[in-house]
Amino acid sequence: MSALADETIVCLPGERLCRTEDNIVLGIGTYEQNGYIYASKSGIVNIDDSGENCQVVSVHKPGFHLTIPATGDVVTARVLVTTPKFVKCAIFCVRNVLLESSYRGLLRKEDVRETEKDRVDIYKSFKPGDVILARVINQLDQSFLLTTAENELGVVIAYASDARKTRVPMVPVGWSEMQCPQTTIKEPRKVAKVLPESSINAVK
Amino acid sequence: MAYVALSEAEKTYILHGVEDDFRCDGRSRRDYRPMELETGLVSNASGSARLRLANTDILVGVKTEIDVPNPLTPEFGKLEFFVDCSANATPEFEGRGGSDLAQELVLSLQNAYESPLAFDYRTLCLIPGQQCWKLYIDILILECGGNLHDAVSLAAKAALFNTKLPRVTATLLDAGITDLIISDNPYDCTRIGIETVPLLVTVCKIGDYCLVDPSAEEEVCSTVSVVVSVSMRNGEPFLSGTHLTGGGAMHRDTMRNCLQLGLSIGEHLDKLLTKMLKLEQERVGPKRPKTVGFLK
């Protein structure tokens, strides 16, 4: 990788990159046609080794690149509506990429947490206005189906319902409660355990 | 287009059939499905035609009006197309569903009839610069069974053939004002020349082969098709408008082949249509005809 860094190969859509072979995998920004791999985006050609003699050919577009939430992505969303059965939210961030326009997300009651799914009370987990972390599990007709059934997923930023003027976010005081530092009011939430970035890297 | 759900296996079956030049309904790649054509069945229109091409059912009515010609083209009459995708053709046309398709058909027809060589706008002229005929060609799609472009253009041509314009005499009044007198006698009328009126031929590319008159199922399988507008002039075919449709692309040589196929088919089709229209006219005769209509 580092050796390739100074001799960057620029490619444009429709440019032939290489032959299709058994040990070459198509990465992002490429497509296959008649036994050859072609670029479908403009950018820098990357050839990464992915173990077992396999090479991934991908095209990395510098600058802006378009992101659409895909199954498995962790997204940041704002809760819009809560009902007894589901939560409607607006996805505005995918992984660490801020989106141009928000997409609709749907979080069903069954997907709020991993165990005791039947005893979930949506109103005790989310309030409109909360910012949540969630994972995309499917793409429905009109919206993305989300889940927060993980320790690290759930509400990250929330405000107490009566403290509109101060706008001080609440602080988590447990897996299911958040407290306002000014008024000391406690409110129930499905709290995400936000890990510091350093520890996420360590896990990987 | 009307939507037909096809599985991969069905698509492959159609594809193989096309490759072997033996399509699902037994046709070769250059064959049309059986057509039924009848003219003059709408009593309130100046001209009308109904065309049934297998499952595609089209009814065309031509209405006339007197209008002022465009100052740029004082000797020309006017034509206006309108396509209505009726909701009983396919449920998707309900509401605004058919408007995209209708617009596409209107644009193709307008494009094909644009040239004065394709349609002689001078026959619609009454008094140059002052009065002309304006024809409204209303196309109603009753059932949608594929190959709408071809069916619509055939029906439109037949309806134009059937159109009777009442004879108009003009008297010159004072100060250059003219007064038009329209004949009351329903048999005292003029016809419109349709020799050069274009026909649209859709050449559909399925797999590596081109074919004409695709059925609704075949349309789903095709990646791209060329709509060729063929106008016959002095016994030679001319192109009066072509475009690609269907969301695919094709090679230049394929394009040429498609054009050639389209032209030869169009020529043949034009000949047949003219022959059939003559027969139909004789059958119907000057007397009030016994129309068959939608009954068989």
């Binding site: 429709g14 497509y31 793409q139 350093s198 | 740029l72 072509t242 475009h243 690609l244």
Partner: protein, 327 residues
């Protein structure tokens, strides 16, 4: 736009008003006479002076501006949205929508603007459909908006070129680069990249183009316009729209002219896009270096905090979620 004839008007007390342009067919005739006509067989197949710039707008990610001679076009690609219409969702492909708008001052002829916008929009959609990898955004619709700032002919082909660049700039997967050009034939003269005046002549004066021709000679006076969009990697024609009245031989001739022009346009667009990629790549590298510096700084702070034991304090404050499955 063509030739403004000023007439004295007594009612307006000597002030003059512009008469309606192209009032008589004669004007067109005069104009054709005054036009310097190209040779019957064009020798130089080249595009007009072209200026393309991707990424002109900072608010929208995928934008491109293109000048083709005097024709000026701006294209914007909006990020994909969820499909609204239910019927379109049954296709296993994304939906592409193109909208064309004329700026109020773009064209002299205001009457037909709405109709032209619709027509151009639908033709543009047809031309762009083959190039976009529509399978990559299922259940989404992609909106492309084109604003025409100045109209001097070749509108559709310029719009196609501009949209192609905007798509690449936006990072939407495309199978190839798309280029388009226009050629027309009028009274045996082949005009490549016809200007607005010639196009207008072709449309509005279709009438008198052959008044004498048909009556005197039996040969047919061909006239027509052809717009070809091509993708050259696989030598595919994405769209080929023709109007007018052409013999098949002339059609193929014009088609080949436009394809040759497309090839040279492609070189130009390639150059522009390659430069753009390099530019952005350098920016990226610089940004990366800066953020690395920042990371370093933060790490130092964290290191300091760790020594003080604050991190432990924060970590210990969060209790484990009892509803999570334990492995």
């Amino acid at each position: 736009m063509l030739r403004v004839t000023q007439t004295k008007n007594s009612l307006l007390d000597g002030a003059s008003i512009a008469e309606e342009l192209y009032t008589t067919p004669k004007d067109g005739e005069d104009f054709f006479e005054s036009l310097d006509k190209p040779e019957k067989e064009p020798t130089k197949l080249a595009p007009r002076n072209t200026f393309i710039r991707p990424g002109v707008l900072t608010t929208v990610r995928g934008s491109a501006y293109m000048e083709y001679g005097n024709t000026k076009v701006l294209a914007i690609v909006a990020p994909p949205k969820e499909l609204i219409r239910a019927s379109a969702r049954r296709m296993n492909m994304g939906v592409l929508n193109c909208y064309v708008n004329f700026a109020a001052f773009a064209t002299g002829d205001l009457e037909s603007v709405a109709e032209r916008e619709r027509h151009l929009g639908s033709m543009l959609t047809k031309a762009m459909e083959p190039v976009v990898c529509r399978t990559e955004f299922l259940n989404f619709q992609l909106d492309i908006r084109v604003l025409i700032l100045d109209d001097d002919g070749c509108l559709l082909s310029t719009a196609i070129n501009c949209c192609g660049v905007a798509l690449v700039e936006c990072g939407i997967s495309t199978y190839d680069l798309i280029t388009a050009s226009t050629a027309c034939i009028f009274r045996d003269h082949v005009f490549l990249n016809p200007s607005a005046k010639v196009e207008e002549l072709l449309w509005k004066h279709r009438g008198n183009s052959n008044t004498n021709a048909t009556s005197s000679t039996s040969s047919v006076q061909e006239h027509g316009l052809i717009i070809t969009a091509s993708m050259d990697t696989f030598e595919q024609i994405a769209q080929c729209q023709q109007c007018g009245y052409l013999s098949p031989a002339t059609y193929v001739k014009l088609l080949d002219y436009t394809l040759t022009i497309n090839k040279s346009l492609r070189q130009l667009i390639r150059g522009v896009l390659t430069k753009r990629v390099k530019e952005q790549h350098e920016l990226d590298l610089r940004e990366k270096a800066e953020s690395a510096l920042e990371d370093q700084r933060l790490e130092d702070i964290i290191e300091k905090l760790k020594k003080q034991g604050l991190d432990e304090f924060i970590q210990s404050n969060i209790k484990e979620d009892p509803y999570v499955k334990r492995i």
